[in-house]
């Protein structure tokens, strides 16, 4: 099957005011290229922002592996896995939405953007459940790490391997709360980015409904898509690092 291409004009018609073509750009192609480069540079800054947290993870896991091995059972692999699938699906619907915008398929892009948005809601919903369990069990960041003060039976219900839970709560390694500091910092910052992404998707959805986009001008959908894929990419690494510690 041959790849599809479609053409966008590199030249603007003399004197005609093109809607959504900024005055300092000569053509839609120039505007699209500039916007895309701008978004990739923004993604570069996001990668460097998260890099600090990945560094902290690496430092503490390298020097205190016992904390990480101990803590992994308090993260529900099933919920984490479902969240991973949800985000991957949202990336698929987002990429498809961009494709629809490129091909002038307004209804398609609207439906897919809505689906993406609901996937994001689902992700945050599952995270809410996880966070609630942690709060109820005292499995919080370092200064509030107090699982000993909670009912063991209640804690056991929340996690898939109740057998180990009881003895492990008693025998937490020193400074075990650091794991949860890292967990909340990483998933918390990621969650904020999901929220920001939902706002951006909402904005692009509104513009799609208004009919702003066509095969000549679809940049904003493309750029929000790139941002959304980055949110997915970060989770693709967070999931094994936090949930799949053996």
């Amino acid at each position: 099957m041959t790849d599809e291409h479609h053409t966008i004009a590199e030249s603007s018609h003399a004197g005609e005011h093109e809607p959504f073509l900024a005055h300092h750009f000569d053509t839609h192609a120039q505007q699209l290229n500039a916007g895309k480069l701008g978004m990739w540079i923004f993604l570069l800054t996001e990668i460097l922002l998260f890099s600090g947290l990945f560094l902290i993870y690496t430092v503490y896991r390298s020097h205190h592996p016992e904390i990480f091995v101990w803590a992994h059972q308090f993260l529900d692999k099933t919920l984490g896995g479902v969240n991973t699938v949800v985000l991957i699906a949202s990336s698929f619907t987002m990429a498809w939405a961009v494709r629809c915008a490129q091909k002038n398929q307004r209804r398609g892009s609207i439906v897919l953007l809505v689906l993406t948005w609901f996937c994001a809601c689902g992700f945050l919903g599952i995270k809410y459940v996880e966070y609630k369990h942690k709060w109820q069990d005292g499995l919080l960041w370092a200064s509030r790490f107090k699982p000993n003060e909670h009912e063991i039976e209640a804690i056991q219900k929340h996690y898939p391997d109740p057998g180990h839970v009881a003895s492990d709560v008693e025998n937490a390694p020193r400074n075990a709360g650091i794991f949860f500091s890292i967990y909340f910092a990483m998933t918390g910052l990621h969650g904020l980015h999901v929220l920001a992404g939902m706002i951006a998707i909402g904005w692009v959805l509104r513009r799609s409904i208004r009919g702003d986009f066509n095969s000549q001008y679809f940049g904003p959908v493309d750029f929000v898509g790139l941002y959304w894929h980055l949110v997915d990419l970060i989770w693709i690494y967070l999931f094994p690092l936090l949930y799949l510690i053996h």
Partner: protein, 569 residues
């Protein structure tokens, strides 16, 4: 046949095109945004300078006189402020100067105005993002003001843990302010990179770009790569204060040296954000005021990018005495020597440019020459600090303070002043008084050296920085009291010089001679449009030539400016 300088029809310029405060606050015109930045940033400079003057006044005399001397009469009281207030003053001086003034400084205030015109473009790539950057600066400024009003900050601008996680002062609003300012910086850098990549006119290849643009490009690279790490550092510090997550707190299992790695990974490259645009200005000034093609264009261009990249490899040289391992310290010390090389290359090329040039010592050139001298001293003293063995006794002494003031003030600020004077006619359409310009430059030079040169000596004699009182040290080393006194007098002279600059520049807005399009004889594109430029910059894309070719640029005494003639004239 001589071509007249490009002038606007019907006297409409970017200043008059739209009227009203809202037309400025919501303007998407890079020139207006640049002017608003210039006013804001210079106001921040005055604020930061006020605090440094207070610090120097406190340090003019040791708090207790030497016992062998009958208590002598002093010009001002020995102890003016409490030690807690003193800590807040030097912290505020540092934080305001660094985050509000010098990091945004040249790129935001001059770069925004000049870059698109010098490039031959109608605006930056993302004008709305540009305005947003300005609003973010203002927001960050508000948070800093809130910090000041509600108790101040006393951690030093470096926010080291564990003190910053436990002090009672207003760390959180300061950290929020710095975070917001970081994003202002990131978005400016992003904008400049995309502008330079995508909005160059036909004929403007990378190696036809003026060197100021190369320096802004290299600066922008650092802004987008380094600042996010500051972002996460400040975020973690803020969360630590509010929630005690313990990442940097040893009591909870955290690591305070790790904080310093995080902090300096940004803050060392940040100093190259500060100096690179200044160096770019100097390349322009030296060439134009020597009426000679810049020597070694490609070397200077490449050295800008080299400084940007090498600057990321050396951050540990701020941490030699902090608990960093010997192995890491040795690696960082060795790497630090590499970053001096491209800076030296620039200095040699500037000197070679001047050689056999026809030098005019107008005010911008005074600052250009001042830069080479003062930055030379500052840069060379950095070598003592980068070398591991000599760093250990000098760390946290006034030697460090003198070094960074020579490069930041004697370097960046002097270049900023040079740039302001150079582009003042273009931005405002007025000429300033050359007499007052040169006189103020002399006063600034004198005041600066009197303030900071003694500080090198203070440092080698052992005076620590950030100290409220040095009485016990002055007992054993009475020369330290002399150096401090001289330094404080110098700071007053410096203040006089700077205020003088403010006065005559403001006066020029009312009394200054209307400026021709090209008062200095520059060959870069901004001198082809009128002073001040029309709001659309260029009616049609300008012809791109060698930006340092002055052969067709001649002085016209009638307009008291330069015009570009064609080859046949």
């Amino acid at each position: 046949m001589a071509e007249t300088a490009y002038t606007t029809a019907d006297n409409d310029s970017y200043l008059t095109h739209d009227r009203g405060v809202l037309s400025w606050l919501f303007s998407l015109d890079h020139k207006r945004i640049g002017v608003m930045y210039l006013v804001s940033i210079l106001t921040a400079f005055l604020l930061g300078g006020t605090f440094s003057t207070l610090v120097r006044m406190e340090l003019m005399y040791p708090n207790k006189p030497a016992e062998s001397v009958v208590a002598e009469k002093t010009l001002i009281p020995r102890e003016i402020f409490s030690k807690d207030n003193y800590n807040k003053f030097f912290t505020t001086h540092g934080a305001v100067m660094i985050f509000l003034f010098i990091i945004p400084g040249i790129p935001a205030a001059l770069g925004n105005f000049v870059l698109p015109i010098m490039l031959g473009a109608k605006d930056v790539a993302f004008p709305r993002l540009n305005l947003f950057s300005l609003w973010l600066w203002w927001s960050g400024c508000v948070f800093f003001l809130l910090t000041l009003l509600f108790g101040g900050l006393d951690t030093g601008w470096t926010f080291y843990t564990p003190y910053s996680t436990s002090t009672e002062t207003r760390v959180v609003p300061a950290v929020v302010g710095a975070f917001i300012l970081g994003f202002s910086s990131i978005f400016t850098g992003l904008n400049f990179i995309v502008t330079i990549h995508t909005l160059r006119p036909p004929g403007m290849t990378w190696f036809k770009m003026p060197l100021f643009l190369w320096s802004l490009y290299a600066t922008a690279l650092i802004q987008v790569l380094a600042t996010p790490v500051l972002g996460i550092t400040l975020m973690l510090l803020g969360v630590e204060r509010v929630l005690s997550i313990g990442i940097f707190d040893p009591k909870l299992g955290g690591d305070p040296v790790l904080f310093q790695h995080f902090f300096w990974f940004y803050s060392h490259p940040a100093v190259y954000i500060m100096i690179l645009p200044g160096m770019g200005i100097i390349s322009e000034l030296i060439s134009v005021f020597s009426h000679k093609h810049i020597f070694g264009y490609r070397f200077i261009a490449y050295s800008s990018v080299a400084i940007a990249l090498l600057g990321f490899l050396v951050w540990g040289h701020h941490m030699f005495t902090s608990g960093q391992s010997a192995m890491a310290s040795m690696i960082f010390s060795a790497l630090t020597f590499s970053v001096s090389i491209p800076s030296a290359i620039k200095v040699f090329n500037w000197l070679a440019t001047m050689y056999k040039g026809s030098i005019s010592l107008q005010t911008p050139m005074c600052y250009g020459l001042m830069f080479i001298f003062l930055f030379g001293i500052g840069g060379l003293t950095g070598l003592f600090l980068g070398a591991l063995a000599t760093n250990v006794p000098l760390h946290n002494t006034y030697f460090v303070v003198a070094h960074f003031h020579y490069v930041m003030f004697g370097g960046t600020m002097v270049a900023f002043l040079g740039g302001i004077h150079y582009w003042w006619p273009k931005i405002t359409g007025r000429m300033f008084s050359e007499f007052w310009g040169r006189l103020a430059a002399l006063i600034v030079f004198t005041g600066f050296n009197l303030t900071f040169f003694p500080q090198f000596l203070m440092g080698t004699h052992g005076m620590p920085r950030r100290y409220y009182d040095y009485s016990s040290l002055a007992l054993e080393h009475p020369e330290i009291a002399t150096y401090n006194f001289l330094s404080s007098i110098g700071s007053l002279i410096l203040a006089v010089g700077l205020i003088l600059i403010l006065i005559y520049l403001l006066a020029s807005l009312f009394n200054g001679r209307p400026a021709p399009a090209n008062p200095w004889g520059g060959a870069t594109l901004e001198w082809q449009c009128s002073s001040p430029p029309p709001y659309y910059n260029f009616k049609s894309p300008p012809t791109v030539d060698d930006p340092y070719d002055f052969t067709n640029i001649h002085y016209d005494p009638e307009i008291r400016g330069y015009i570009k003639t064609t080859d046949n004239s």
